[in-house]
């Protein structure tokens, strides 16, 4: 019975798709952090009452982040197509999915960075300034290390969000498990493929969360 249910499943293909998802999430997470971290730090520093208070810069940055975050990802996927073609040459496949994923992930992570930096006690910033630290030293010597557990938790949440975004990119011809689920599971009524891909995504998210929680615990000395 179970065997007859799984006869139509192409396992090597599922393996490939899993690998593609891993690559999409990994690469887009890397770029989301690369762009989101400085943006988040800047959001924090230019905010009201902070070290580099700069209402205009804050308003502009905050507006851009909000715009990107308010576009539903499925729309962002479509809107980003011309940009992606310009950057990579194609909007299809694994590579084509990465620019929209970063466009969705980076502003999301930037907000999480801003929030976790706000959690750092102002007294610690004041004490560091009182020791004669420059703004740079306050950021790299105190703010980032103190916010590290929060930043790791933010990376975890971003990674998980990217897993679901990556699955969605299957709709516009991105690769990976989402693509498989849509083409076989949905369009060809292969329920078994659908179940397997969804299960794999669940396991993937669980693993990410566990890893993230462990790292937070390891770096947290509160």
């Amino acid at each position: 019975m179970i065997e007859s249910l799984l006869t139509g499943v192409d396992w090597p293909q599922i393996g490939m798709a899993s690998w593609d998802t891993l690559i999409m999430v990994g690469v887009s997470l890397f770029f989301s952090v690369l762009l989101g971290l400085p943006a988040g730090v800047l959001l924090f520093l230019t905010g009201k009452g902070q070290l580099l208070e700069q209402p205009v810069a804050y308003a502009i940055l905050s507006f851009v982040v909000n715009v990107l975050r308010s576009i539903p990802f499925i729309i962002l996927l479509i809107v980003m197509i011309p940009v992606t073609v310009m950057l990579i040459g194609t909007s299809l496949g694994v590579a084509g999915a990465i620019p929209p994923l970063v466009a969705g992930g980076a502003p999301f992570f930037a907000r999480l960075v801003e929030t976790s930096m706000r959690e750092v006690d102002r007294g610690i910033i004041e004490a560091t300034r009182a020791m004669g630290a420059s703004v740079r030293q306050v950021i790299f010597g105190a703010l980032l290390p103190e916010a590290l557990p929060g930043l790791i938790a933010g990376i975890t949440v971003t990674a998980i969000t990217l897993v679901s975004y990556a699955a969605m990119s299957g709709v516009v011809g991105g690769g990976g498990l989402g693509d498989l689920a849509i083409r076989y599971g949905y369009q060809r009524f292969q329920t078994d493929v659908m179940i397997i891909t969804v299960s794999l995504l669940v396991v993937f998210v669980q693993l990410l969360q566990m890893l993230g929680d462990r790292l937070v615990l390891y770096f947290s000395h509160r």
């Binding site: 006690d121 610690i124 560091t128 020791m131 103190e146």
Partner: protein, 335 residues
């Protein structure tokens, strides 16, 4: 010497300037422990932050050892701040660093010390504050008193000449407060460090300070040697602080006075006269009878003092007053 010359500070709230500190003139000598006492919101926090320019004054000048630091640019200011240590009510240690790394932090920021120098200095400081065996722990694993000791060690790392203490004992229990104050007094004596200490507890001032300024509503209302301000407070706010620390209830005191007969005097002894068997002999010689309404014998920093409130009946009062005067006892006639 720290000279605050007509410094003032106001904040702009909703387009209006709200004064936090009215123009203030203060001189703090090298090597002294200077207390600033006041209720929260009295401006003491602002005043102390003007010294290391965590707050920029809206007017006036801050002069340290003859050098005007008010106009310092970024580089100069950072170098200057290394010479001014600061400790805080909530310690403000970095959670992400061990005790040893917290103490090393200001030296690393300075960027002028070698690794070996830092290690040696950290060991020396850990020993001074008695935390050698806690070096590798994280602040979250320490008690409040230990955290403040780390704070003190960190503040001393770059060998400052001034130490600012912002309510440094307010979050500690009485016993820990005492040991931290003793540590501060030791540091002051051994390193000849100038200490500026703000607090809302007169008792802290009494234990460690040489001079004190009392602040109220953004201005210094009274200042002078602790012995003067503590034993003979002039301003209402100062009196409140002294009474509070001595747990004197003014209403109860008045009630006691109403019941007592005769004249009421408050005698203040200082130094060696505290230990003289004076009252008995004065009473015998002048024939005055006395009863003690209240009294306290204690120390102001190292100076012993006694303060007694007596009611006197009969005998030759003037002779008694003269005898007390000759013995260098300060007499206030309360009734």
């Amino acid at each position: 010497m720290i000279e605050l010359i007509d410094v003032e500070k106001s904040y702009v709230v909703d387009g209006r300037a709200v004064p936090a500190l009215k123009p203030t003139r203060l001189e703090i000598a090298n090597g002294e422990v200077f207390g600033i006492v006041g209720h929260s919101g009295a401006g003491k926090s602002t005043l102390v932050r003007l010294i290391n320019r965590l707050e920029a004054p809206s007017g006036g000048r801050v002069v340290i050892d003859g050098e005007d630091v008010t106009g310092y640019g970024d580089e100069d200011l950072r170098a200057f701040r290394r010479k001014v240590g600061m400790i805080f009510q909530h310690f403000n240690l970095l959670f992400s660093k061990t005790v040893a790394d917290n103490i090393a932090f200001p030296m690393k920021l300075a960027g002028i010390y070698s690794r070996a120098e830092i290690r040696e200095r950290v060991d020396e400081l850990l020993q001074r504050v008695g935390l050698t065996d806690q070096a590798r722990k994280y602040p979250a694993q320490l008690s409040g008193g230990q955290k403040q000791r780390v704070g003190i060690a960190r503040a001393l790392a770059c060998r400052p000449s001034i130490l600012l203490c912002d309510e440094a004992t307010s979050a500690l229990d009485p016993q820990t407060t005492q040991s931290v104050l003793r540590l501060l007094a030791d540091i002051n004596r051994e390193l000849n460090l100038t200490i500026v200490l703000i607090t809302h507890e007169m008792d802290v001032v009494r234990r460690v300070c040489d001079r004190v300024a009392v602040m109220d509503a953004g201005e210094v209302v009274e200042s002078g040697p602790v012995t003067d301000v503590f034993l003979h407070p002039q301003h209402t706010t100062s009196r409140e602080f002294v009474f509070e620390s001595e747990q004197v209830d003014e209403d109860e005191m008045q009630e006691d006075f109403a019941r007592a007969r005769g004249r009421i005097l408050r005698l203040t002894f200082q130094g060696e006269s505290t230990y003289e068997p004076l009252l008995g002999s004065v009473a015998r010689e002048s024939g005055v009878d006395f009863s003690i309404l209240s009294g306290r014998i204690d120390r102001i920093k190292e100076t012993p003092y006694g303060q007694l409130t007596l009611s006197l009946v009969g005998g030759d009062l003037n002779a008694a007053l003269a005898a007390l005067d000759r013995a260098d006892v300060h007499v206030e006639v309360l009734r």
